[in-house]
Symmetry: C2
Subunit: 183 residues, 2 copies
Amino acid sequence: MRADAQKNHDKIVATAIEVFTEKGMDAPLDEIATRADVGPGTLYRHFPTREDLIDAVIKSWVLQIETAADDAVASDAPVREVLLRWFSAYVARISRNKGGPAKFTSAMGNSHSPIFSKCEVLRLANERVLDRFRHDGVIRADVDSLEVCRIIGGVAVVADQAGLDEAATVSMLGVVIDGLLRT
Amino acid sequence: MRADAQKNHDKIVATAIEVFTEKGMDAPLDEIATRADVGPGTLYRHFPTREDLIDAVIKSWVLQIETAADDAVASDAPVREVLLRWFSAYVARISRNKGGPAKFTSAMGNSHSPIFSKCEVLRLANERVLDRFRHDGVIRADVDSLEVCRIIGGVAVVADQAGLDEAATVSMLGVVIDGLLRT
DNA sequence: CCAGTATACGGAGTCATTCTCCGTTTAGCA
DNA sequence: TGCTAAACGGAGAATGACTCCGTATACTGG
């Protein structure tokens, strides 16, 4: 890639992180272009769709999600507590920017989405956590990771769109966790 | 209200029902105006916001929700089965038009929304059903109707946005129901 | 029945946003 | 240093929300 192209690419991603933080993931792309001092054409050449740009922005998350999952797998606290912490981390992650939960959760399981691979990271991290407890027989075995991601994602979407606080989210997650335990 | 205004009002609502069915609840309002043979100005005078129009469109539902709730309260089938049927009806209702679940669920509990009163109908119907089982002591008492509506709504939003089939929805509802039972 | 007026109409027009097209510029190479 | 593929960027087309205001008309009181 040409040096100027690389520079613009990086500048766009950096600006996108800023703008998404300020205005949510549905922020006008042209504003990102303007603030990155590039033309709209340049932005769209690098990132044909909004999701392609989101994909580039997410890269930094991946590691943190993996770490949270590692913690959950390693922790010897009670199941309920471990799951609550893990799901909270999951929700916090995808909710960092307004509109994020909807973006991730509706792309989940859709292999044609530009952010599919990032969703897979989430799904697989969740799978590792669930596997640990499935192994112990403390959670039900008939629900797969994708489905759990969707339910948790649903909670995140509602919390995001209705502007709920963390307490409300935790309470809803508690219900879902109880639904996963036993059986 | 002047006779011509009434006629236009009715024509707009009828057309909106059609267009929402075809294109979802985010369909262009100008298209509704065009197809109803009125100017955009007329549509916006009658319904200042999209939600005001949705509110008018919903009127026909209310009775059906009440009926489904009545059935759930009266049924002597097992809890799990009754709840599954009720929640399925709830989800089906708000998911009738694409984009519906998000509209309803994010307005739920927000008394400033034009469709708040309709959301209250949903919430109260759900409350009646929950109350019956709370009385029997078969479901947990520490989760209120609003919260349950949000969790179920979250499932509906995800199913709607990801285009999931009914089996997937039912499976997710099953998890939530298990989370509500006991304790 | 008719005139006067409040009410309602409707579409042209503005604004915001997405996305494209294409003439211009430039990095990197031979 | 000159050539060319690569990249740029902004004008502008397309879509959709929403407003403004000149025009038309349904009602009412005489």
